[in-house]
Point group: C2
Chain length 230, copies 2
DNA sequence: GTCTATAGACGGATAGAC
DNA sequence: GTCTATCCGTCTATAGAC
């Protein structure tokens, strides 16, 4: 593996990342060649390998630079909610808002490329590529742990597995919300209203409804002590 | 464009389709080469071009053969619910069950390859590839029209755009439900219980909760009394 | 750090024998 | 319908001049 040079030539480097982000979003990783990236970024073909080493390393860096920021904001939002709760468990709606609200905020940021990135991220959750799955899991591990812990404390009577599934479902809904009409064209031309603020309200309403849905009537396997009073 | 030969050599043809389906699911379209497909199917490399013409045509056929059946079942389920309603609008929960219930049924069919296909389909909803989006939209057009019409009749007081968005969110939740732990490994090893029957109850509970969530407080054009979507 | 040029592998597709 | 052999394009990555 070749050494990367993070500090030099920031301009070229950023141009490559921006171009790659947009092209990955539009065409996927495999269908996006280095040549497409370098010609879009107006840099030389060899510059990518010079700055990032390999295409995989470039992909990784495209995600790392945004996810670092996004997850920091998510954790900060959760910490704020916890402070406001003053020792009591945070309300589930606050937890959901902390996580998905920051997602949608970034998705609404069309000026600094957040919107492009979030659409890329949304589809990457279901990315088959082994190495992409691996580093996404690493980038998310702390956030998942913190948010799941908060939800367990907020919903002590709900089996943890149910909470995990519902969070998973919420991620799916958010993915599609951000992808909007770009991804699935089944409803092409039918979404007249794409105002991000309204999307936020629409999604939150749906997510909280789903989270509060009556628990399914499973023949519970008599687990011991799901009640962690924190 | 080369002519396809649907009736001849069904065995080879089916083996190719099965192999392609599995490999597309595991690695994606671009990362799956013709050579991977033919060696997995134990057929000659040239057989793919003989039977399907091009790789894109093969991809199309992988989807067509399953979607035809799936959408037929969805429409039949909706028709049954409409007959049972006897002229009255079908309950939203019945409509949702008709659509997503058939999805999960196919996802639970591990014997005839339905499970593999549904995981492939789930991630393909967010597929960037232009031509894939296009034929998916075509395959779905009738189903979308029928189900949206049923939901509009069932929820006459809910703005149609809200219904569209919520259905879109539901598709996202279903996608992730089917992808399960395979897609996103954020909760790796934490889903102990993958029983399809329980997944069905879990997902339905979430979807209906989301559908019934209070309508978001958009600066609405003063419609009368939309407290609840269900 | 940036460039040209190219190595070296693999991709989809086809020609033509059987 | 099935096979071998091959064309020709594109890909990632690198060597080496500047």
């Amino acid at each position: 593996m070749r050494e990367t040079h993070h500090r030099q030539a920031p301009e070229t480097r950023e141009r490559i990342l921006d171009a790659a982000e947009g092209l990955f979003m539009a065409h996927g990783f495999e269908a996006t060649s280095m040549r497409m990236i370098t010609s879009t970024a107006h840099v030389n073909l060899a510059a990518v390998n010079y700055h990032f080493g390999t295409k995989d390393a470039l992909i990784h860096e495209v995600f790392r630079r945004r996810l670092h920021d996004l997850n920091r904001r998510r954790l900060a939002a959760l910490s704020n909610a916890e402070l406001a709760a003053n020792g009591a468990p945070v309300k589930p709606s606050r937890i959901v808002e902390a996580f998905f609200g920051e997602s949608l905020k970034m998705a609404a940021d069309t000026e600094h490329g957040g919107a492009v990135f979030m659409r890329l991220l949304g589809r990457t959750y279901t990315e088959p590529n082994e190495f992409v799955r691996k580093f996404l899991a690493e980038e998310y591990s702390e956030v998942v742990e913190r948010f799941m812990g908060a939800l367990y404390r907020a919903l002590p009577d709900v089996p943890r597995e149910e909470i995990l599934w519902r969070f998973h479902f919420m991620m799916g809904a958010m993915s599609f919300a951000i992808a909007g009409t770009d991804a699935l064209q089944l409803f092409a031309g039918e979404f007249d209203d794409k105002d991000p603020a309204k999307l936020m309200e629409r999604l939150m309403s749906f997510l909280l409804g789903g989270l509060r849905g009556p628990l399914p009537n499973l023949q519970a396997p008599a687990r011991d002590d799901q009640r962690d009073a924190a």
